[in-house]
């Protein structure tokens, strides 16, 4: 029987680890990253017959980025209902944060304070290793926007982190 399941299962096995890490970096929480990636694969499965299979991995990446934005929007909605929160809703979850060295945590905290698009550009560039063109396609923006976002993000990080380094 010919079904979409085998190619989707192959895609799942191949892409899931990287996408889970990408989502975790974007949403800062492993459990929510899991949900984001699951939703992305469900979306791919539904649309498999209409997808260019050679670009399915890219489609998944876009779905993960969009899903991560949904998570942030949900957090923001909740935060608006709470007037005195002392916990940063964008902060990385404890299960992730506690397992990395303080030096890295300092950088991750600084990255979390960046605007959403700048964070996304940094993650796609320095974790996923995408080119400017690939990042632009993933985020649905121009290459110029990617370049500007990266430049501003790095400048901000340099100001925030530079003073702490010899």
């Amino acid at each position: 029987m010919t079904t979409v399941d085998e190619p989707v299962a192959d895609l799942f096995r191949r892409e899931k680890p990287g996408l889970l890490r990408l989502a975790a970096l974007l949403v800062g929480d492993t459990a929510q990253a899991e949900d984001v990636v699951q939703d992305a694969f469900v979306a791919v499965h539904r649309r498999w017959d209409h997808l260019d299979h050679t670009t399915a991995a890219g489609y998944l990446r876009v779905a993960v980025v969009n899903g991560s934005r949904t998570v942030h929007r949900a957090r923001a909605r909740l935060a608006r209902h709470l007037t005195r929160t002392t916990r940063d809703q964008d902060a990385p979850a404890a299960d992730t944060a506690l397992l990395v060295a303080e030096e890295h945590r300092e950088v991750l905290r600084a990255v979390r304070r960046l605007p959403r698009r700048q964070r996304e550009v940094l993650v796609l560039r320095y974790w996923s290793g995408l080119s400017e063109a690939e990042i632009a396609a993933t985020l649905g923006v121009s290459r110029g926007t990617v370049k500007t976002s990266a430049s501003r993000a790095l400048a901000t990080l340099h100001r925030r982190l530079g003073a702490h380094r010899d």
Partner: protein
Amino acid sequence: MTDGERTDVEHRVAAAFAAAARAVDVTRPAERPAPARRVPPPVGVAATVLLLCGSLLALVTVFGRQTDELRLPPAAVTTTRPPLAVIDPFELHTHCGIRETRIGDRYYEADPVLDDGAGNPPSGWANPSQVGVMTVTGETEAVFTDAAGHTARFRLRPGATAFLRLCE
């Protein structure tokens, strides 16, 4: 951009991302059991159900209403959601007993109400208020704790715009 052209900040960002990514356990999802029945319905439907179960479980976890009927894959239960918000310090009004509270613009009822039977806080609680930490654990639940070991649980009153009763 090649690695050799990277600045110090870029190196630090890449290293931090790599370290954070390594902390993510990616083995667990791959080990999720497949549905036991692989005869009709077709494999495609079974795979979709498996994927949907993960999302459904997440919703169940959020709202804390997992039921036996769902029979979800046990591997997906291993993650714990972080609290939605932590308010520290939080001053809980206790003068007439622990009956209700407000978090942001939302009103909550104590579940159960804690008092001494005479309209005062139970023995050991400060009066008129106790300072501690309020943790919003779900969309409708919150828990107050303090350094003395007290715990008070609260449930959201959806749509409420005022306290049920005034305590003076």
